[in-house]
Symmetry: C2
Subunit: 581 residues, 2 copies
């Protein structure tokens, strides 16, 4: 057929499904189905648990694991990423919705749903306008510090379920205070269930796989069995509560979980509410994107595949929009489940769509079985999962490597614990940027001279070089922009004021990739003031694009000296005896 | 005397007065006295007018021009800077105090005084901790845009006095709206006085000096006479109002101005108030410092003198602290008056102290004469003074030079006019920083090859160079830090995925001045992923300080390849046939 209304290549860039669906084979289908089954088993308890962490009804965790996965399968570029509720984003959702309404209220649920929708719109807009680079402003030390502190906060927030006491709070002091006040009301049966579950899950994580391997099981199967630990804990504990009637003895259970399809509704547009949720939604979007994209990149590289960060934004945006439309809450790509998906052999995003079908079946059929599931077991799965996020060695590693990075980590951890997730991550970003600006605001600047017998110029402090009393040459080792413009000016004035015979100053611009308007105005000021002191200003080795830009200003007309192609030309021209004084 | 308890050199660095007072001569005294007389005459109407602009009683303008000048004479480093109330800072004071209490109330006055004191403490702390570099975050285009927009706002805010109507507002739409609603109540006599004063002052500024010069007057004297225009306008209009009884016909006058010394009081410490005033005080401090230091540097360079920015912070901090202790409001070094001081021959900061005595005499003796001074004339002096600040050509200049700088200017102007001074200047700073991070987050990266017959490596796209199919060499033209760490990773993956025979990647680090921890972790990830693809990663031409830092991490142990001293060594080692595959 010669009729071809669309550019199919561009279309498949924006709809990656068109790329892989065309070459889908029965073999791929088998691989994807196996992976989907395993991820479904893992995702059911996780979805319920993270909904509990977010302070939401358990079915919202399931809803957030159905349509968002299908949307990602259509728009996402990673072959193995598994999308759904994750720990850190659930914590951030609880913090944001808790600012709007009391946990458990309709307003709280509506805020969580709106948060998913707004966050989806933000991610989609970032993808369309190619703003993925914004995520780069989160430096690695800030992310590491934030994830560690969030893990501590999450674990602390779940202790109340293990003890069977009421409580709440969004910062470590609040959480500890609420635990201290409630600890007298601890329910001993709940405590036994919770502690047993924690012990069992830790053993599954650390001890089961080596045991199975020692018994001769194939490593992949052993690995998958070990991941099914939480499902076993859920099944056994639910059965025990029901059989022993423990819910009548004060063990908190999940209770009624509505059976059926996710509800569809457009989130109500309330400008006041959306305004309050915008900043939290932005932080959730960026944190979720950073977490998801780093998982996706790691897995893609293992098979020499590529992901497209800007298209990933579109995929995650679509996922969150449908999460908001189908009674879910903010989702992103999770580390543990994506690795399981990858290890279980998922070859295309279709595995995600099959997982969604699995969760949908669970929502339709299994929810009555979850009635007697004790909350303490869900809390135990959360605690065991998040403690692996806590990595305080980042403090030591960053201290050894650089004090500036250490300060960013320490501030992020301290503020996240003491003032909450939103302030913690914002302060970390702000501090990283400030400290970067501080270091580049004092660029390396060297006075240079000619290495005898060559045409090379080197730092006069490090090399034996030729200089000339009336000529000062300064090499600048950084682009010139507003933060360092004043510094250069000071350097030059300091140098010429204390050395009277100087008649010519040359700025060697071999390492200057950019001169912004602030720096241009500083150079103009330097030129004017040196002129008042009867000193000429010259430039040498200016790069092409910088020169093009300078030509668009009046600077070159006003420059008292010349622009030399090479520093050696400048040296020869300015040190030979002049015909006219 | 051999007893010498202090290091007098260090002491005179912190108390610059000890430096110049020791070499003070009768000649210097004469020069300083003449300059002080001229500046005093100029400063009296200015002080009254800027107090009106700040919404404060006129005597506060005088108080702000007495002790702050003496404090600067002791602690400041500029020989010619004249400190006192200035237009932009007065506008910012009005905006900040207006958020606390209604103009004219005791709370408003207390807020303005506290603002001076807090701003003084901030400036002093910045000086002591050497944080002067923070001012560099204000890029020149942002400052230019902010000053222009402030000039427009100030002129608009004074039109009500020229029309003799009530009104107010902190943004252009508010001001225009209040003018539109009040214009029906215009007082015709006030309007005549105001318009005449504006016309006269413009003529004095533009037409008087050429006229005097044409009549053969010496240029310096002509210049000084032209600066005395406002004093003439004040004297003539005050006399006219008194003689014709115009105040009984609705012409607003200054009224009772208390006669006497400035009141001394420690500003009340109210944590709530101080908390609210902190951010405005910080913005006032930084804007005031930037304005002052650029004037001081310009004047110092003309006489080959130097100022010390960190000591300038101490000087301005002391000035503002005493302003807060003596019933004044925030002050800084003013452009026009400093130039007059300089041109009139001021040789040391003592000229400032003599000016302070002049203003003190005025406060003691002249205030009864100011009773009938019409506010419209003060407004006229403000309008004529600030219109010289308005420079819309910055929009065109920045557009020609760089779209990024243009966006910063345009956003600063628009937001200052539409949302007020605080939001305007904050947004300008934020935008400058974001756009700088954006440009450095995509650094120049080139694939390089060997220039035949040399040891030089150049961009393969621009030069005819030798390459080798299994070797990829990438030169990075920027320091590696969090904002560009991900970009480099993407570049490398994109390149190796599409070119299968590559077995070795070399990163040429000749232009890398720094590798922060985020970039280190990116390099570790690159190393690991390339290893999974059976590609080795090497570095070449790593600078000494960067190498020292890398040695403190585990990166060099994990690196699959080598660190070569020169790129040529790397090329020779990696392209010769290997003994073992």
């Amino acid at each position: 057929m010669s009729f071809r209304p669309f550019d199919t290549k561009a279309l498949s860039r924006h709809l990656p499904i068109l790329g892989w669906a065309r070459v889908y084979t029965p073999d791929t289908l088998t691989s994807d189905l196996v992976a989907a089954l395993i991820v479904t088993i893992m995702l059911i308890p996780q979805s319920l648990a993270y909904a509990l962490l977010a302070g939401l009804p358990p079915e919202m965790g399931l809803y957030a694991s159905i349509l968002p996965l299908i949307a990602y399968a259509i728009f996402g570029t990673s072959r193995a990423l598994a999308v759904g509720p994750v720990a850190v984003v659930s914590l951030m959702t609880a913090a944001a919705a808790g600012n709007i309404a009391a946990q458990g209220s309709m307003g709280y649920i509506a805020a969580a749903i709106a948060l998913a929708f707004i966050s989806g719109l933000i991610l989609l807009a970032m993808g369309v306008f190619r703003l993925g680079f914004l995520a780069n402003f989160l430096s690695h030390p800030v992310i590491a510090g934030f994830i560690t502190a969030s893990g501590i906060l999450i674990a602390a927030s779940q202790l109340k379920h293990v003890l069977g006491i009421p409580g709440g709070g969004h910062t470590l002091p609040e959480l500890l205070d609420s635990l201290a006040r409630g600890i007298g009301q601890t329910n001993p049966i709940t405590l036994v269930i919770g502690v047993t579950a924690i012990g069992f899950l830790f053993w599954v994580r650390k001890g089961l796989k080596p045991l199975l391997l020692a018994r001769g099981m194939r490593p992949r199967l052993a690995d998958i069995l070990a991941k099914a630990g939480p499902v076993a804990a859920v099944a056994v504990s639910t059965f025990s509560v029901w059989a022993l009637g423990l819910h009548d003895r004060g063990v908190a259970i999940v209770g009624e979980v509505p059976q059926g399809l996710p509800p569809f509704a457009l989130p109500a547009f309330d400008p006041g509410l959306w305004g309050q949720l915008f900043v939290p939604a932005l932080l959730i979007s960026i944190i979720g994107f950073v977490e998801s994209v780093s998982v996706a990149q790691t897995l893609a590289a293992k098979r020499r595949q590529r992901i497209t960060p800007d298209q990933e934004l579109v995929g995650l945006g679509a996922s969150n929009i449908v999460a908001g439309l189908s009674g879910g809450y903010p989702v992103t790509g999770g580390f543990a489940r994506s690795v399981v998906n990858f290890d279980a052999g998922a070859e295309t995003p279709a595995a995600g769509a099959f997982t969604a079908l699995g969760i949908l079946l669970a929502a339709l059929l299994l929810t009555p079985l979850l009635h007697f599931l004790p909350k303490a077991v869900l809390a135990a799965t959360i605690i065991v999962a998040v403690l692996s996020l806590v990595d305080l060695t980042i403090l030591k590693r960053s201290w050894t490597y650089s004090r500036i990075d250490f300060a960013a980590v320490a501030a992020t951890i301290a503020l996240t614990l003491l003032a909450g997730v939103e302030i913690g991550v914002s302060a970390g970003v702000g501090l990283s940027i400030l400290m970067h600006l501080y270091t580049t605001s004092r660029p390396h600047v060297a006075e240079v001279g000619l290495v005898p017998g060559t045409q090379h110029f080197r730092n006069i402090l490090r090399h034996r070089v030729e200089t000339h009393p009336t000529l000062l040459t300064i090499r600048i080792d950084e682009s010139l922009y507003f933060a360092n413009a004043a510094f250069l000016q000071d350097k030059i004035y300091d140098r010429v004021v204390c050395d009277q015979p100087i008649s010519d100053v040359v700025l060697m611009c071999s390492a200057v990739n950019e001169i912004d308007m602030s720096a241009l105005e500083s150079l103009e000021a330097v030129n004017t003031r040196l002129h008042e002191m009867e000193i000429r200003l010259h430039l040498s080795e200016v790069k092409g694009p910088v020169m093009d830009r300078l030509k668009r200003s009046h600077f070159l007309d006003e420059l008292t000296g010349e622009v030399f192609l090479s520093q050696y030309d400048a040296f020869r021209a300015l040190t030979k005896p002049r015909a006219v004084a």
